[in-house]
Amino acid sequence: AAQSPAAGDKITIGVSLAQDDNPFYIAMLKGIRARAQELGWDVVSVSANEDKLKQINGVQDLVARGVKGILISPIDSVGVNAAYDAAAAAKIPIVSVARGSASPNQTIHVAMDEKQIGRDIAEWTAKRLGGKGQVAMLLGPSGAPTFKNLADGYTEVMAKYPDIKIVFRSDGPLTRERGVKQAEDALVANPDLAAIYTANDDVALGATQGVLAANRKGKTIVTGMNGVPPALRAVKDDNMAMTVELNPVEWGRLGVDVLATYLKGDKVDPRVFIKHQLIDSSNVDSKLPKS
Amino acid sequence: MPSAISTERISKHFGANRALDQIDFDVAFGEVHALVGENGAGKSTLIRILSGVHQPDAGRILVEGKEQRFAGPHDAIAAGIVTIPQELRLVPALSIAENIALGDLPVRRFGPMALIDRGRLREQGRAVLAQLDFVPDVDCPVSRLSFAERQLVAIGRALHRECRIFILDEPTAALEQHEIERLFSVLKRMRAQGTAIIYISHELDEVVEVADRCTVLRDGRVVASARRGSFAVADLISAMTGRVQDPGGSAPRALGPTLLHMQRGNDQPVSVHAGEMIGLAGLLGSGTEAIMRGLFGVLRPDAGISVGGEPRTLRGPADAIASGIGFSPGERALGLVLNQSVRDNILLASLDQVTRNFVVDRQAGDRIAAELIDLLDIRPRRPELPVRALSGGNQQKVLLAKWLARRVRLLLLEEPTQGIDVGAKAQIHALIRDFVTRGGGALIASSDLAELARLCDAVLAVRQGAITARLDRTAGLDDATLRTAIGA
């Protein structure tokens, strides 16, 4: 059961994100901190850097520190169950943000519908290609469920188009550098590539450079995901065809609000979804920062 | 009765270099068979084959008449052969006792489990070293021992193993007379017990004293073999070198200005003039090493040093070298970059001298290297060969060549003729004399007192870290006086 905080007693919440060097999570943490400050809460954040054991250790440290609630984006849906167990043992609510967990001790999951996003990207791409062409997929890190779900949604839809062929798949870290190299090689192996799917905007931005270098601008389209500012600009400049805006800042704020509601003792659904939006040349202007 | 071990037409090549050519060699139980020859004659190579380190290209090894193939040292050890290799091979981080028992640790058995018996380990170590009159703390790691002490440990390790065939490759190179005598008495006892012994040394007096038989190798071939009584030092030399030795006379030299002066506390001063050779004699652990290293700036000396009449603080070897001092350490591995070529090693200390416009002048370097290889008769005459492929004696010459290339005025030499054959030893003595005659000075630390007595103008005796006496040639100098002076 949730404890309602005594008035005047400053609440400290703990945060354990999957990475601390990824713009997506950096923005999310910003949102969390901003919302917490508005509520007069303190935030203690520990990092995991995609190391499951480190995430469990970090959550244990948060519990030892006596936080009142935990926001976590679990690296793996099963692998960090021990972190949820540790929180539950100390009767501390633990809310998953973005990535989710299969643990029975997960209090709430503030989620995105990953499969659906993958499907939406695929539908958009298929429409743009006119239902035929060769496609390369630059996936996320192997084993991470989010990127697996995205890719599964994508391939599920593409399977319905007999003239669309996925000719190249590679997994790896979400860096711009990898995007350049893999796109270059994919374009040598398949000079007629019509589209490159990427698991995230950083990879996408790299891939656009590979496309430019191979003189395929306009002939090979690149799709991204996350909607970070440089990607929006690339969409505006027509270097990238499309990205998905998730607004991680909002996500962080939502996570804090959900936790606040729970701590007040109000009822919250075990699964709360955040909206996503496809951004392409048609709507990018409204998203760009006004200058 | 068959020979303890014998070889039939053993040959061995290293690349295009023929180290051994159809060697027939044998030793009987209860016999000491000495093996002599110039540096690079192939002695160590033959030993390495007998101890399983190298495999011969052709020929057979027979142990007690039965053919044996050694895939590695363990096979040779299993056949009862124990070797003290020329290059000491100890494990520096392990204790003296563990090094002695290495490969054959005393254990207590508990069913299937074997545990080391530490008490027995220490006892064995102490007992075996006591035979050599060496009583260290056997728990001390070998890394803290001096080179000569390590040589005793290496001998101790070999003595520790029960063996029927015992091979010693230059075991006495860094040893004092006293330890050598102890070793000989051990060898004599082993011979009496029927052990077959192969003994390699460049000290032909030792050979004549201890050997029942002596075989001479030259250029990888057996050139002579004789029984006790039918060979003398001179015969051995002429068989080894193919020529008759001329005893190098020492021309009188004029003393020049003082090159080096050091005064520590109440000690005798160390002072070396141009044209002078000064010896430094002391027992094991008496501190000659520390004095040499202090003079070269490696250890901070606690005394005023002046070079060429001016006081100097030597903050490191670079300072010492800049003041015209060169140092060749007793342990060759410390003075040579083993995987670099002979040429690069010779030029190591004189890179700035052969540099023109920031670039090493290759031709000048090659010329200097070639000259020195000629002068010192370094063999094989291939400047591009890595130093590790040279025989021990030739490595020693490279060490000297390095400082001759640099044209230093003062040489600090530790054991300069360690492991060097008689011919080469005379050559090196002549080289040092020549160096000194041309206005250089030399300070020589050696465990070979006879060498010091023959060579030096004066010898400083070192006892327990202090220089206690100076013995001048004019007052008569021989190894007996020296021995008394250092307290042996």
Partner: protein
Amino acid sequence: MKHTSTLAAWRGRLAGQIPLISLIALCILTALLTPRFLSPLNLTNILVQSSIMAVIAIGMTFVIVGGGFDLSVGSTAALAGCVASMVMLQTGITAGVVAGIMAGGAVGLVNGLVIAFLDVNPFITTLGTMVLVRGVVFLITGGAPVSGEYGLPGAFVAFGSERFLGIHLLVWVPALLLAILSFVMYATPYGRRVYATGGGREAAYLSGIPVRRVIASTYVWCGALAGLAGVMLAARLQSGQPTAGEFYELTAIAAVVLGGASLHGGEGSLYKSVIGVFIMIVLGNALNLLNVDSYWQRVAVGIVIVAAAAAERLRSRS
């Protein structure tokens, strides 16, 4: 005379314990800054957090004392965890655990044979197997975590959280290993051969020690223990994780070196390597408790690693 030598001996003994002293200093400092550090919960956390890395570091110590190097332990742990989970779901817990450890030992054997008998550089060999084994893990798992329809067997998962005599089972494993294997390293001829081979391969070889077999054996130890660590990790992660164990190799080597082992071989002890693991884990724990920003944490970890190593060097200087 007597007096100074006792003093010197004491100084020497202290200098030999610099890793321990560093650890204690770190603990005292943290305890002063936050009282929560010494809470029973936190101390338990530290023990549990150290347990898996300690098992790996013990294996790594064998390799490093023997004069080698192993970068493949992280991948090997992942392989073992996944193999154990897969076998366990089919056949049972014991079979799974054994299969995991054996998979680790097999990787170690390959490393050992290539390094000892083909004389290939250990760095490059184990870098190769590190990449290769990770590929194999992804191939057999398809890149997805292994936990079956209904999770791994309950008794196995419980192993990741239950206690015996108040101490987590996960902590008993390295404790027992440390006791037994320290004995092996110190008191058996095999252990001394490992030291001799690492400290002077030539000398060991000339003494008839089968140096190649000894070297190969150290990699088998290391692989098998990395395998055991992988099984423990699977229990703790309640699944076989194909991506587990990244960067473990560097952490383990750092711990062993912090514990005073020489990367040239022949020096080091299991117990000190475990101290090295504690230094790394306590440091991370302290920075978390003190709510140090994760970027500053990296800076602090970097400085402490170098400082601890520098302190350890003072020993050989004094």
